[in-house]
Amino acid sequence: MLEVSAIHSFYGKAHILDGLSFSVARGEVVALLGRNGAGKSTTMKSVMQLVPPRAGSVSFEGRELVGLPAYRTAKAGLGYVPEDRRIFSDLTVLENLEVGRQPPREGAPHWTVAQLFELFPNLAERRHNRGKHMSGGEQQMLSIARTLMGNPALLLLDEPSEGIAPVIVEQMARSILTLKAEGLTVLISEQNLHFARAVADRAIILESGQKKFDGSFALLEKQPEIRDAYLSV
């Protein structure tokens, strides 16, 4: 479904992604793992074309994304949930969801506000609250719900467990498993190995913008030296 081949991405002159390639199949949940600064968030932004790669290709269902503006990438069926959530703090929960709303898409689950409130019950209680009056966990849920309003076929989740209370993290894991059961494909970046193992089918480990490991968690278990070298556990 998603085919990333040999992308190079930069911030100004800083070379962040160094010929990174990987793929995600339909219905899969894949976790991008790695330390701070390994290039996880940049990978997400490069797939989304918020940080367009200077070389290489990102193809989604056979369609080349490099060169498209971010809104066209979103319209192609990618949903992006940023690391820092980027809630519209002056808008209410309902208004935030409205910004994300897009027409239904073939081959992707269709979400309504009511269904999202079922998935994230906390949001239902706070539907008229402004974004800035919500806790970190609630903002994270809102950010995911807002992106789901676009009915994406592939969800890019950037560090959803970061800075959130443990009880909410568990709830988040259940929600992601629900999304998977609905047939959504998910690429998730994480530092929390435990959380990643709970939700993902496969792990990709990044270091200095290069891929160091790509395989199942079972395989990763058998190679503790990789875990020790590239993940801070």
Binding site: G12, M48, F88, D90, L91, G100, G150
Partner: protein
Amino acid sequence: MAFLFAQFLTGLANAAALFLVASGLSLIFGVTRIVNFAHGSFYMLGAFIGVTLMEVLPGHLGFWGAIVLTGLAVGLIGALVEVVVLRRIYRAPELFQLVATFGVILVIQDLALMIWGAEDRLGPRAPGLRGVWRIFGEPVPKYDIVLIAITPFILLALWYLITRTRLGILVRAATQDREMVGALGVNQAWLFTGVFALGSALAGWGGALQLPTGGADLLMDFNIIGAVFVVVVIGGMGSLPGAFVASVLISVLNVFGVTYLPQSTLVLMFVVMALVLIVRPYGLLGREEVAGEHGQVGAPETPIRPYGPLGVALTAALLALLAALPAFADTFLMVLVIDIVVFALFAASLHFILGTGGLVSFGHAAFFGGGAYAAALLVFHTQTPMELAFLFAPLAAGLLALGIGWFCIRLSGVYFAMLTLAFSQLVWSLAFQWRSVTRGDDGLINIWPADWLNATVPYYYFTLALGVGGILTLRHVIHSPFGYALRAGRDSPRQAEAMGIDVKRVQLVAFALAGAMAGLAGGLFVFSKGSVFPTELEIAKSFDALIVVFLGGVKTLAGGVVGASFMTSVEHWLTRLEYWRLLLGLVIIAVVILMPEGIVGTLHRLWQRWRPASEDTAR
């Protein structure tokens, strides 16, 4: 009492058009972050297009239909301007776009002159609303009452649009975080175009609605833009109810001002704005601007370095050429170079506070004209020798800047810009209306230099020495520890404070230094022309300096000087032509689109592409 009430109603009626124009500006600024100087031009277009349509369409339906159509037409023109000009430069340094909008003003002025001619047009009376109604015995025009009745509905309609519709929600979301709105699948380009079109349409409606009480003329654009900015700032940038309250406040005050304190009219609203901003720095209903909330656009600041050997050699060669100029040039060319040097110093002083200090002043002419007036007043009233009076130019301007800066420095961003604008208007109106001292718009004349300087060649060298000296001094300060502190305060005020830099104090001193240097330029100016008029203190003068700084390149060291030289030369050639504004406007827009980093910034980039390994010398 009845008279007072009638006056109050007149003020309310005048508020209608003002509110329409101001709400449009506020909307555009909120979403696109563009300070649209050309907004007054859309208001003027609304008036002219409205008059034309009303002549063609008859009767009740014609009058009101013409108003509706006018808004749509001006909205279309606004969309065209956005797509053709502004869309290309959203990623340029912040406030760069205002240069483009200035070009648009010039183009629209000449196009309006071509299409509608120079004569003022009287607006037609609204059919069925020609007479007056008596209210407590006082005559109040019927049309005024209708305007008063319409305004709340306009506010209500706008409020509904912004708070209750999908478009409004997207607009508010984009005001906070444009990039995220794009990542959610919304084409921001068209959202921006839509908002710009709507804002322009509102200005057009404002221009058409005021026709029966006002009319249409070619000065409307500049006449309203001051008031519109004042309203938006008093109300709070981006707040519709704020714009409404402020429109009413300013219009009512103006009506009473005209009646009871006629000499106050030029400055009243600026005094109100200054008072409001000193008490409430973000306007009556505005919110504090959180730094970085809107996402930085464009590239981050690159460090600046002193010239390398090549740069020094080129500069020295240029100076040698200028020094040798009197040997072979005629008076005409020397006078042109004097003008260029004076303007270059003025622009360099603004560039210093704007580029290095990060403080965008919209009122820098106060110090240029202030210096010129200080010297001229001494010569005119006390026959002070020129040498002494000349010294007073930078001194007085520096002190003036210290005083004004003390009030302004506590604000930042657009609010800082507006407060400097307010103070410069105060200074201007002082020069304009305190006739017993300044002789008003008759100006101060016969201000000639001392005998030993009173010829073109000696004065040429005098200007060259002091002008170049002033510019070099500013450059030197930028590379001194004080300059580092100033840049630290610009890039990261909190970190700078944490390192023990008193940011506000550093900014105040820098502001005063910039003022003194502008005053020096003013001193050079007044003795080269032999006279000074209030025009040297006008908003237009401040804008001239802003334009050349941005044109030259705000993030480069030589930007102000190069921009000023470019502009003075171009203006010199173009003003001979009939439609020079149109051409100048097109030149400005072309430079803005082709060189989004300014002339120097873009040349520098080309240079680096050509010689990627070379030293950082071209700036």
